[in-house]
């Protein structure tokens, strides 16, 4: 995009395949304070310089284990927490240093669904108030039109308009997640950040929500940043997948590329660790059991952050930090990638 779009342009939907979001070298630091003297002792780089993009109508899966920075990334992309470096470009506009008033029109276009609908829905509000709130705050509808819009949203996520008068605690976990999705859709966004949206749900309910998200994406041309630790779910729903380890993206590729030819040893280990629901393949697959735990992000290893658990690590891995390289769709950050 050459010209700077006007604010109105932000609400125009991009054609499928156009770049909706570009994140460059994003980092997020959390300070570490001493508990007694309240002195700043240092900082933890939860996200340590990551870059990726997301196209209109696409699902990018962001996968990694606890503490790898995937949720922090999701929040930082929406500017719900402050980042310490890098840039975020949404719909051709640089959001990086935008004031919160200038951000307002962008907020309509980028929304979030959180893991635990129990804690993300106000227990004192009816479902109708919860879903109406963003619409009223942005002044998009009121009165009869607002009611109709909420009814429409409830039906869209598989609930009934009559459910609107109830409170969140009257619903099951799966239904609460539907309410959370309806609220996120209320402003007609183009991008949804889905932060572990099905992790707290039972298998049968998880499938309902995954199918709902896929249907909504088709009907509403949504782009998803789908953050989860469950590789099977991410793999099922995503077009492309980014794998994070200790604040860094170690590999990005289409899901077929990652499945059939993972390049980073960590991706390979992660894939091999997923239990396969097939008892006849027991012991056949090459399970790579990684040794040890993830190091503390407060003092990450030098060079490649994965080297302390990597079976391929050499001296160069401790000295030189690998950068993401590869072909147009498939890149990995490893000095000794698989299949080369």
């Amino acid at each position: 995009m050459t010209s700077t779009p006007t604010v109105d342009d932000v609400h125009t939907r991009l054609a499928p395949g156009e770049e909706l979001l570009r994140v460059e070298d994003l980092s997020v630091e959390f300070p570490i304070h001493s508990t007694i003297l309240r002195r700043r002792l240092g900082s933890v780089k939860a996200v340590a310089g990551i870059s990726f993009n997301l196209h209109a109508g696409e699902t990018l899966g962001l996968v990694g284990e606890s503490g790898c920075g995937k949720s922090t990334t999701g929040l930082a992309v929406l500017r719900l927490i402050e980042h310490s470096g890098g840039s975020i470009v949404f719909h051709g506009r640089d959001l990086t240093d935008m004031s919160s008033s200038a951000m307002r029109p962008f907020r309509r276009e980028m929304q979030i669904v959180l893991q635990d609908p129990q804690s993300s829905l106000d227990p004192r509000l009816t479902v109708r108030s919860i879903i109406s709130e963003p619409i009223r705050v942005h002044g998009l509808a009121e009165g009869k039109k607002l009611k109709e819009r909420v009814d429409e949203l409830l039906e869209l996520v598989g609930l009934r308009p009559a459910h609107g008068t109830r409170f969140p605690h009257e619903f099951s976990g799966g239904q609460r997640q539907r309410i959370g999705i309806a609220r996120a859709l209320a402003l007609g966004p183009q991008l949804l950040v889905l932060d572990e949206p099905v992790s707290a749900l039972d298998v049968s309910i998880q499938a309902q929500i995954v199918n709902l998200l896929e249907r909504l994406q088709d009907e509403l041309d949504l782009a998803y940043l789908f953050i989860a630790h469950d590789l099977s779910v991410v793999n099922h729903i995503s077009d492309r997948i980014a794998v994070m380890y200790l604040g860094k993206i170690v590999e990005i590729g289409t899901r077929d590329e990652l499945d059939s030819a993972p390049r980073h040893p960590y991706t390979k280990a992660l894939l091999s660790a997923v239990p396969v629901p097939n008892p006849t393949s027991r012991g056949l697959g090459q399970r790579i059991v990684l040794e040890g735990d993830v190091p503390s992000p407060a003092s990450p290893p030098s060079g490649c952050r994965f080297r302390t658990r990597c079976w391929k690590a050499q001296d160069v891995c401790a000295a030189v930090e690998p950068v993401l390289e590869g072909d147009s769709t498939h890149v990995s950050a490893c000095h000794f990638p698989e299949g080369s």
Binding site: S204, A273, V276
Partner: protein, 356 residues
């Protein structure tokens, strides 16, 4: 992990018959476990699978007297362990069984350990409580040996550390060390890997397998994860709404499910290895156990029932179907049901028939 092990003859190690657990609360009684029967043979790995509220954990905790009573009330039985009825034992007798013969591994090791005592102290204590003749130093040596066996690096230094100084995976290892300290004959693992990351889960599943070979203990693995079941169980019990709906060998379960609920669960699993057009989704949600439906509890969500009166009115018995047990009035229609799910999701979920 012998897959084709013949159904063991001889007497089972633990045999549960017609177990009921009812919680009496202010709003009346809720029957969480409604007549459950199964048994486990020495050395066997029995997987108990089900979703939240299916009664899988409650049924096992109740056997060991781990549920506070009131509100829990246990009826039915007997629950025979090596020839003795656990339900007839008093607390003192049960305590001997719990530490010496049956050990438990929980989902969250943080709650299983006392936070103000060192890990080493707690493992040593577990050894000495059950055998007072063991000296302090012998218990210490044995604890360090156990920590080393479960793969805790630097066991001597780790012996002196507190639970919060361990990572989640290491704590789970330490709990396994404590569980096997007295060479139990039965190990009960309740969602042992649910709170762990997938690479750590792989470590712990591998460790459980090693431990089983070393101790020869039978294992009951309670989980909601059919992938974990496929990896480690010999036999599987599927629970829904407080009842066993299917029970069979792990191979048979994945090759030929005999209950529509099992079929639905298998169809709703996203898979890494094969592409599915969409996931099968079981409509609705599990019943509120305070108002469990009459007849088959799964009927309102069942694709096979299609509202037939039989399902709504009569509780299906657990009956033999081939080598399996199934609690479905229309289990002879499973072939059609499986094919209809296959058409919907673009995958025949039966192992061996996944050809696209």
């Amino acid at each position: 992990m012998a897959l084709n092990a013949p159904t063991p003859t001889g007497s089972p190690l633990l045999s549960v018959s017609d177990l009921h657990v009812t919680f009496h609360g202010e709003e009346g009684a809720v029957e969480a476990v409604r007549g459950v029967s199964w048994d486990i043979s020495p050395g066997e790995v029995l997987g108990i699978v089900g979703e939240s509220g299916s009664g899988k954990s409650v049924s096992v905790s109740s056997i060991l007297g781990l549920l506070p009573s009131p509100p829990a009330r246990i009826s039915g039985g007997p629950v025979m362990f090596e020839g003795r009825d656990l339900l007839a034992m008093n607390e003192k007798e049960l305590r001997v069984i719990r530490g010496n013969h049956i050990a438990m591994i929980f989902q969250d090791p943080m709650t299983a350990f006392n936070p103000v005592k060192t890990i080493g102290h707690q493992i040593s204590e577990a050894i000495r409580v059950h055998d007072k003749s063991v000296s302090r130093s012998a218990a210490r040596a044995r604890s360090i040996e156990l920590l080393s066996m479960v793969g805790v690096p630097g066991p001597e230094a780790r012996f002196r550390q507190f639970p919060h100084e361990y990572s989640g995976g290491m704590r789970q290892r330490a709990m396994i060390a404590m569980a096997i300290a007295n060479r139990p004959r039965l190990l009960i693992a309740d969602e042992p890997t649910t709170a762990l990351d997938v690479t750590i889960q792989a470590q712990i599943l591998e460790l459980l397998d090693v431990v089983r070979h070393e101790t020869d203990a039978a294992t009951i693995l309670i989980t909601h994860d059919l992938g974990v079941i496929a990896e480690v169980a010999d036999r599987v019990v599927v629970m829904y709404a407080g009842k066993v709906v299917e029970s069979t060998s792990v191979l048979d379960l994945f090759a030929d499910p005999h209950h529509p609920y099992t079929l639905g669960l298998l169809g709703s699993l996203p898979r890494l290895t094969v592409r599915m057009d969409t996931l099968y989704s079981i409509p609705g949600q599990p019943p509120d156990m305070a108002h469990a439906p009459p007849g088959c509890a799964f009927a309102p969500r069942c694709s096979l029932s299609r509202g037939r009166a039989e399902c709504r009115e009569r509780v299906p018995e657990l009956v033999p179907v081939g080598d399996a047990l199934s609690a479905c009035h229309f289990h002879d229609e499973m072939e059609t049901a499986t094919q209809s799910v296959a058409r919907e999701i673009g995958l025949d979920i039966r192992v061996g028939q996944e050809a696209p």
